[in-house]
């Protein structure tokens, strides 16, 4: 296992990038800890797969260096980097048995057969395919095939990092819960450095210690799931994480009050803004209380999704989403109040802290 250093990496697919727009990946300069579980999260085209391919060695970055445990591997091939990778769609060797599929990466590296047997059998238990070990891989279901792909990625214990490229895309919702928690358990147990690419926030947040949110070729925020949820650095992070995403409302600031239309929202701090900044406040639907007290809203729709309801409403001419717990009363003349500690202030889309 190794620490991964991304040293001023930039990448353009075209030959002569002239402007920032030509870069699929703009300036990534970070260090990822040994044994960390990182998720790269973002919409398609945000550069997350490009970054993953640079780490795995399938792509050579246009600029910058990549280091594993302090050793420069920029010019090394995928094989030489000694990593494992699991792809979006199952990659299995059709003609081999399940057992041989798992043994393949070990045998290719001349691991003694007794050791191969021990590790393959362990892995078969973990991915719950022990009863299938002598079956040809070709006939299995997509779930099972993807489990083999996962197993092949995890069977080696000498890798620098294990990379996952949206590995649960083809898996049914129930099986996702099982596989994801198994992955997480394995991570806790063995401390692999893992990098997991996904567009699905639930997968990213639940899997990773640190989530790397990417947007238009840049990393907008790296943080723990709680940080991303409670303190999104950029309105994009607020929108992208959370379902529904954060409500972002244009506002004016006066001391430690924010004015949205005719309403004043109390803040727990006085934000440090400059004149001329475009100010917005961000509040998560989960932190808005709906009831008979507070500011008036006009409810347009209530979606009952079982464990809670999503109230779609209009607040001072702006659409707003509110999460209301199961069984909570929603009055016809509804009023809302914001939890002051959960209100974030954004100037030109970037979060600003308190005045010092």
């Amino acid at each position: 296992m190794a620490r991964i250093t991304l040293d001023h990496i930039r990448h353009a697919y075209g030959p002569n990038p002239s402007s920032e727009k030509d870069y699929a990946l703009r300036e990534v300069d970070h260090e990822w800890e040994d044994g960390g579980a990182y998720a790269l999260l973002g919409p398609s085209g945000c550069g997350k797969t490009t970054l993953l391919n640079i780490i795995s060695g399938l792509l050579h970055p246009s600029h910058g260096r990549i280091l594993f445990g302090g050793k420069d591997v920029t010019d090394l091939s995928t094989q030489e980097r000694n990593i494992a990778q699991v792809f979006q769609f199952p990659v299995i060797y059709d003609t081999m048995t399940v057992y041989d599929n798992l043994a393949f990466p070990l045998r290719n590296r001349n691991v003694p057969e007794a050791e191969v047997d021990r590790r393959v059998r362990d892995m078969l238990e973990i991915i719950d395919l022990a009863d299938w070990s002598n079956r040809k891989a070709q006939r299995l279901t997509a779930d099972q095939k993807q489990k083999i792909s996962l197993g092949r990625g995890l069977v080696r214990n000498d890798v620098n990092a294990i990379l996952f490229d949206e590995p649960l895309t083809v898996i049914d919702p129930h099986m996702k819960w099982v596989l994801r928690s198994q992955l997480k358990r394995l991570h806790k147990q063995f401390g692999f450095t893992m990098v997991y690419v996904t567009h699905d926030q639930t997968e990213a947040l639940t899997f990773a210690d640190k989530v790397v949110v990417m947007f238009e070729g840049e990393i907008v925020q790296i943080g723990t799931p709680a940080e991303l949820f409670e303190r999104p650095r950029h309105t994009f992070v607020g929108y992208f994480i959370g379902s529904p995403g954060m409500n972002v409302l244009p506002a004016r600031l006066e001391g430690s009050n924010a004015h949205v239309g005719a309403q004043a929202v109390a803040l727990d701090h006085a934000p440090d803004v400059k004149a001329g900044d475009r100010i917005e406040i961000g509040i998560r639907p989960e932190f808005i209380r709906i009831g008979r007290e507070g500011m008036p809203v006009r409810i347009s729709r209530v979606e009952d999704i079982g464990r809670h309801r999503i109230v779609r409403a209009e607040f001072e001419g702006q659409p707003i989403a509110i999460v209301s717990a199961e069984g909570e009363d929603i009055p016809a003349e509804a009023r809302i109040s914001f939890d002051p500690s959960a209100v974030n202030i954004y100037a030109n889309s970037w979060r600003i802290g308190a005045k010092v």
Partner: protein
């Protein structure tokens, strides 16, 4: 109205669809919810007329259409893959069903622009589908299905290949679009969450059988059997086989818990109790919520909540607890069950009706 009357599909001796009766009314949104290979696509193919049922019939507005080829029915379909004519512009793609129907160009132009506006495709009308994002491509396919003015619109996991956030946006738009059209919509998905967000009616499928059909939220709240309850749960449903004896549910691996009032009437003997992950918590929800002891498997943090995977006397449970609880694996913890929401099922899986305290 579309009716399936005992329609079944037998392939090589196996029922892909067991005899099914179902009626869908005009202007309704119907979700087919079930895991992969549960028969959603097979059922849609029967509805569309792409396959002929082995037995039973398909009746549309009182007319038996069993065996009538799909070309002669007024059906539109949208698939998981983005299927568009790649050589045509978005405009021509949307216009294509009307061109086939021989509509005049003024009507076509009006309808195309209306559908494009609805699907927010107006700026892209002159582009070809390959120059669009996945979401735009799928919106083009949806627009084409809409302008066809079909009486039956079938959608087979139409959002599955889109990004999470895009799905969320389209999912919010779809019910509004459905409401404007008078067609029967059938929407297949594997995700319970998606069914709940779409609303309408839901039919849960398992192994080629419809286990329940009714208004979505009712099917979710009052599943008729354990299979339906499990299909309609994400995160997965927690369940436990227990023996009811007097006022307690006994479980060999973990001890007893009191029977809540709404289940007090059921007869003593074996039952399966089940509940959703958000009805477990680390703190008591009500003063007399039963306290249980479980071992932590792994904790997953998601924003402001935690999914805690538990081992409860051998049963694998998930707790969705508010707040951040990064508890180490193999720790023993006290958990509390909001037993007001407990469901009970007989040994054969049928739900036992509850006596709700009003």
């Amino acid at each position: 109205m579309l009716e399936l009357r005992n329609a079944a599909k037998l392939v090589g001796g196996d029922y892909h669809i067991h005899p099914t009766s179902l009626s869908l009314s005009r202007g309704s949104l119907n979700v087919l919810l079930g895991p992969t290979l549960s028969g959603k696509t097979s059922l849609m193919r029967l509805m569309a007329g792409l396959d002929r049922p082995t037995s039973g019939s398909v009746v549309f507005d009182g007319v038996d259409v069993t065996g009538m080829p799909v070309q002669k029915r007024n059906v539109a379909m949208v698939y998981q893959q983005f299927i568009n004519y790649s050589a045509f512009t978005v405009y021509e793609n949307i216009a294509s069903p009307m061109r086939i129907a021989g509509k005049d160009s003024a009507t076509i132009d009006r309808e195309v622009r209306k559908a494009a506006e609805l699907m927010r495709l107006t700026p892209y009308l002159d582009r070809t589908p390959l120059n669009l994002s996945g979401g735009q491509q799928q919106r083009t396919a949806l627009a084409r299905a809409l302008v066809k003015n079909a009486s039956l619109v079938l959608m087979d996991e139409p959002l599955a290949n889109l990004d999470y956030k895009l799905r969320e946006e389209l999912r919010a738009e779809l019910p509004k679009i459905f409401a404007l059209s008078g067609a029967i919509f059938v929407y297949a998905t594997t995700e319970p969450h998606e069914a709940l967000l779409l609303g309408g009616n839901t039919a849960t499928l398992r192994e080629g059988r419809i286990t329940q059909f009714g208004p979505t939220i009712e099917v979710y709240r009052k599943p008729g059997d354990l299979a339906t309850a499990k299909t309609f749960a994400d995160p997965p449903l927690n369940s436990l086989g227990v023996i009811k004896a007097n006022g307690t549910f006994r479980h060999s691996g973990s001890g007893d818990m009191p029977v809540p009032a709404h289940l007090a009437h059921i007869a003593d003997g074996p039952v399966t109790i089940a509940f959703h992950p958000h009805h477990l918590a680390l703190a008591p929800q009500t003063p007399n919520a039963p306290r249980l002891r479980a071992r932590i498997q792994i904790a997953e943090i998601t924003g402001s909540e935690s999914f805690v995977h538990l081992d409860f006397g051998g049963a694998r449970w998930i707790m969705l607890a508010p707040g951040i609880h990064d508890i180490d694996p193999d720790t023993q913890v006290d958990i509390f069950l909001d037993s007001r929401h407990l469901m009970a099922f007989r040994e054969d899986g049928a739900a036992i009706s509850t006596q709700m305290a009003a």
